[in-house]
């Protein structure tokens, strides 16, 4: 590697880091504003126009805060844990393209690399919980371990389906192979599995079980303050953006859009960003709507519903590829299975009182009510 190449690589990494920081700030603002609107509030209003500078003010406040440290913490592990969470989340951006040829290193095993690295951040969460010498942190850390490890599996299987269709693990080729039809239409089942498992990986509502505020008071992060807490926060939002970006790249055609030539990089980036932010808005939307699952319910959803569905997804994709059926047959099968799954769940969904889910009205006889 020549000196120039090294310099370019360093510059690119700095560029990505800066870009991600800006994106995280925008996400924090967007989340607060969006949730505020959902809840009939204004969201941040006072710092800058439309409260745009609120995340900046928050960041400055966090940096200026004193780092409180319990005397019982395991110091080395305690300080390393935020980095162990942050570094993998940043590393996966090395191979995520935001437009054609706009990527630091376009790895042939890109998807494999991303999955391998994203698993690493679990270690950080567990060690953070353990080193904090706080029982809530320990509980949160182990919840995180159980949750994130379980949901890796449906996530990987959903990605596998896409990799099979694209015949490649190179993200750029995955996107290019969607130039005629996006995989969301070919594999709707895969998209749903990937998105739900992704939500669980992020620890977002309804799967915000390890930081659950009303139960374990912030989980692994409960003892962290100031800049170290900010690193966790940064990692969480970068992860959110990464999962949304992967959803866009794997299922929604990345920077491709009908009628827009993907050759112009700036336009490609714009299309990519618009799609990613739309996916993120769905994540926020879900956060504003649902309560939280319990850890055992989360596990049973993961192992009893998502993993079997993901396996079925892989199997139907494989048979479609092996027998060379026409493209629409896979969509049809995928849709049918998704529909069956939704129907199975919706039999348990309700939006109004049913005989089973209601309370009765007891009206005593008139003479009884006058007795007193």
């Amino acid at each position: 590697m020549s000196a120039l190449e090294t310099l370019l690589l360093v510059l690119a990494i700095f560029g990505v880091l800066t870009g991600l920081s800006v994106i995280v700030l925008s996400l924090i603002w967007l989340e607060r504003k969006f949730l505020g609107r959902m809840q009939m509030r204004m969201g941040p209003m006072h710092v800058g126009p439309f409260g745009l500078l609120q995340p900046v003010a928050d960041a400055v406040k966090l940096m200026a805060k004193e780092d409180l440290l319990s005397s019982l913490v395991d110091r080395v592990v305690y300080w390393v844990a935020p980095l162990a969470v942050f570094v993998p989340t940043f590393m996966i951006w090395v191979t995520i393209p935001v437009a054609r040829d706009l990527v630091i290193r376009n790895l042939d095993m890109g998807l494999f690399y991303i999955i391998a690295f994203s698993v690493l951040s679990i270690v950080g969460l567990v060690t953070a919980g353990w080193a904090s010498s706080n029982k809530y942190a320990v509980l949160g850390g182990f919840r995180a371990a159980a949750q994130l490890v379980s949901y890796e599996i449906p996530l990987i299987l959903a990605v596998l389906g896409v990799a099979m269709l694209a015949q490649s693990m190179n993200l750029e080729e995955v996107v290019n192979s969607q130039s005629t039809v996006v995989y969301a239409l070919v594999q709707p089942l895969g998209l749903v599995i990937f998105f739900i498992a992704g939500l669980a990986e992020l620890g977002r509502t309804p799967f915000d079980i390890h930081p659950a505020e009303s139960e374990v008071v912030g989980g692994p992060f409960v003892e962290y303050s100031g800049a170290h807490w900010a690193v966790f926060f940064l990692a969480e939002y970068i992860n959110t953006f990464a999962i949304a970006a992967l959803t866009v790249l794997l299922f929604l055609g990345g920077w491709l859009f009908p009628g827009i030539s993907g050759d112009v990089s700036a336009l490609g980036v714009l299309v990519f960003l618009v799609k990613t932010y739309l996916v993120i808005l769905v994540v926020f939307w879900i956060r504003g709507t649902y309560p939280r699952l319990r850890i055992d319910q989360l596990m049973s959803l993961g192992w009893k519903v998502l993993v079997p569905l993901a396996l079925v997804n892989v199997v139907i994709t494989a048979s479609y590829m092996f027998y060379g059926w026409s493209a629409w047959s896979l969509s049809l099968m995928s849709l049918a299975i998704l529909g069956a799954a939704i129907w199975g769940l919706s039999k348990r969904m309700r939006t109004a009182p049913t005989p089973e889910y209601t309370v009765k009205l007891y009206v005593p006889a008139p003479e009884a009510s006058n007795a007193g």
């Binding site: 809530y136 939280r292 309370v359 007891y362 007193g372």
Partner: protein, 373 residues
């Protein structure tokens, strides 16, 4: 051959977790010491008293008219109900008649207070279960009720509006119209909150069948109010022993079946609707006339004792008042509903998960100001 059994090699120990008094979902300064095996609660020990202000003892040092403000501060979510129970105790002791119009104003405000209290419950219960939006909708509606209280009593909380012998003053001239408009908005708002939370699949999974208590055990622990009615016991002081003008209204008592957290939640939602029915009828029937029976500032009830019961949003409240003929009571004892409902916590939380503990405690709807007094 590798020995794969982990018996004797992996020892697990129980962990003691101190939940509260500074925990976001203990609804104040309640403290539980939990012994957990993983996430499962093996044993627990509740600790109360962090908000003890000695209200009952303080009552012995105040004039009767001053005590009303102390009752305001016991259950600070349903102030008017608390004021009313104390005033009724003194009135019963003195044989003081209350003007009809005052009774109607009291009932309307108390029922409105019940709606406000249950709205707060619905919101915070959503937070306990992890949903962050319902509380905003609940508070939007509660805020309108608070404004209504402000218009009538002059204060959003701690009203000191219900006085011995009646109420402080008459309601505003356009009270009926404003109440009509408010009820319309509230109906809509409650339906919205209901849709958002009550039948959400995740919410049902979190609350259905969690924290079940049967009627006999509940009665044995002295539970009352919505927590008892959720077990299917139609016990409501407003029906069993109608006080004030409650016998003139047509309303039902919502009762649950299983006595789980969801029933305790939904009984309250239905109760809000019933309360609004009462308010509507009361507005129609409300007569004109004076709003207070004039009495002296320094009251000296005759020697004697009295016990009155009333239906608070949280359950049956009772006041035992002993007078020795002086200007200050000899003894005031309160039977707080939250305290009695909380007694069952050990029964309810055994062998549940930590996540359930939060939901079950939330479903009891305790107010620590009342538990500790």
């Amino acid at each position: 051959m590798v020995d794969l059994s982990t018996e004797g090699q992996l020892d697990t120990v129980q962990m003691m977790v101190n939940m509260g008094p500074q925990h976001p979902s203990t609804h104040g300064v309640f403290r539980m010491v939990l012994w957990v095996d993983g996430e499962r609660i093996v044993d627990l020990e509740p600790h109360i008293g962090y908000l003890h202000r000695g209200s009952e003892k303080l009552c012995e040092g105040e004039l009767y008219v001053q005590i009303v403000t102390l009752f305001d501060r016991m259950d600070y979510i349903s102030n008017l109900n608390n004021e009313m129970i104390f005033c009724r105790a003194v009135e019963r002791l003195m044989g003081l008649a209350v003007p009809e119009r005052a009774e109607y104003i009291r009932v309307i405000l108390c029922e409105l207070n019940r709606v406000a209290s249950h709205l707060l419950f619905c919101g915070t219960f959503g937070i306990d279960a992890g949903a962050m939006t319902p509380i905003m909708y609940a508070f939007r509606d509660r805020e309108k009720i608070q404004s209504m209280f402000e218009a009538v009593t002059g204060a959003r909380m701690m009203h000191n509006y219900i006085r011995i012998g009646g109420v402080k003053g008459d309601v505003p001239d356009d009270f009926s119209q404003r109440m009509g408009a408010l009820l319309k908005v509230l109906r809509q708002g409650i339906n919205e909150t209901d849709k958002l939370l009550s039948f959400s699949e995740i919410f049902l999974a979190r609350t259905k069948g969690i924290g079940v208590i049967d009627a006999e055990t509940a009665i044995a622990y002295g539970m009352s109010g919505p927590s008892l009615r959720a077990c299917g016991v139609p016990m409501d002081v407003r029906k069993d022993e109608p006080y004030s003008v409650y016998d003139r209204f047509d309303f039902g008592i919502p009762i649950g079946e299983k006595g789980d957290s969801w029933d305790r939640y939904y009984v309250r939602v239905e109760e809000m609707r019933q309360s609004m029915r009462i308010i509507e009828q009361a507005l129609e029937q409300m007569p004109d006339g004076p709003t207070i029976t004039p009495s002296r500032l320094v009251l000296r009830p005759p020697q004697g004792e009295v016990y009155v019961r009333g239906e608070n949003p949280r359950g049956e409240i009772g006041v035992y008042l002993v007078s020795n003929g002086a200007d200050k009571p000899y003894r005031v004892k309160v039977r707080p509903p939250s305290f009695c409902n909380l007694m069952a916590i050990k029964e309810l939380l055994k062998d549940t998960y930590i996540a359930d503990a939060v939901v079950i405690l939330g479903s009891l709807d305790i107010v620590l100001g009342e538990v500790d007094r």
